[in-house]
């Protein structure tokens, strides 16, 4: 890719100062388990959320933190206590770089400063309720931060 040096400078100056761009390539879908106790993207019918993290800093490594998995939208009248389980799996540099684990305790992992690096992050969300889930729409959220 050939770019005039001045044009490149202008493009960079116009870009907002940020440590990365996070794009959601596949939104997550939760499905109810057969026994009605868990709502999870890992259940049959569920889909994990896949994110592509790019435009990472070239000045040093970037730390990606995943935190605060929570139930955001529930049908009215749902107040059961729930527990969360969630897992993540991240790959970069064609699988050479890898991090994975459970989301308990706000895990983070570090990726190096490499040109055009893209990190593929696969997230699963699970909500468990001993008393089950009422009919209605449920939304969970997980926060991904670059720093």
């Amino acid at each position: 890719m050939q770019l005039g040096p001045l044009a490149l400078l202008a493009a960079l100056a116009a870009a907002p100062a940020q440590a990365c761009t996070i794009g959601v390539s596949t939104p997550g879908i939760l499905a109810l388990s057969g026994d009605g106790h868990t709502l999870s993207s890992a259940n049959s019918g569920g889909i994990a959320s896949i994110l592509a993290i790019s435009d990472l800093s070239l000045l040093g490594s970037t730390t990606i933190t995943i935190s605060d998995t929570r139930l955001d939208v529930t049908p009215p009248g749902f107040a059961a206590p729930v527990s969360y389980g969630a897992t993540y799996s991240a790959d970069w540099l064609l699988g050479v770089g890898h991090a994975s684990g459970s989301l308990a305790g706000s895990p983070s992992f570090t990726v190096p400063a490499v040109l055009n690096l893209v990190v593929t992050l696969t997230l699963h969300n699970t909500v468990t309720s001993a008393t089950g889930f009422r009919q209605g729409n449920y939304t969970t959220k997980t926060t991904v931060t670059c720093s």
Partner: protein, 152 residues
């Protein structure tokens, strides 16, 4: 070479800062389910004194209903009625009652309906006993008493 100068210029212009955190959203829809099946139809037998026809008499059998529920549902049993009787029998003096054990405990026979809410329930049994009492007794023949169990 111009490139190193350019790189320096880029550095001073862009001050890196932490990105605004992004919330990743998962969505799901839960649909209420209620599955009920009569595993064993109830059978009523005559008591030794001939005034009670009941599923808990002699070789009688209570009805077994299996219930599976996801979400929140309600089970309602209608007040039991004598649905059919042989030609020689005159209805009017009979009392039809039922009780339930198992999933819901209403052990005292009642002629009224029974109503209770259920939440998440893995396959569970509800036993329903039915009895028809008539101090004048019963003539020979087939009697049917029924309650309508509605899951809604």
């Amino acid at each position: 070479m111009r490139r190193p100068v350019l790189a320096l210029a880029v550095l001073t212009l862009c001050a890196p800062a932490a990105a605004a955190p992004l919330d990743v959203t998962f969505t799901g829809l839960v649909v209420d389910t209620c599955t009920i099946a009569v595993a064993t139809p109830g059978i009523m037998m005559l008591s030794s004194d001939g005034t009670i026809l009941g599923s808990d008499q002699g070789l009688g059998v209570p009805a077994t209903v299996t219930v599976l529920s996801i979400g929140s549902n309600n089970i309602a049993l209608s007040a039991p009625v004598l649905e059919s009787h042989p030609a020689g029998y005159t209805p009017g003096g009979e009392t039809v009652e039922m009780n339930t054990t198992g999933l819901a405990s209403n052990p005292v026979f009642t002629s009224l309906g029974i109503d209770f809410d259920i939440g998440l329930l893995s396959l569970s049994n509800l036993f329903v006993n039915m009895q028809v009492s008539d101090p004048a007794g019963f003539v020979q023949g087939t009697y049917t008493a029924k309650t309508v169990l509605t899951c809604s």
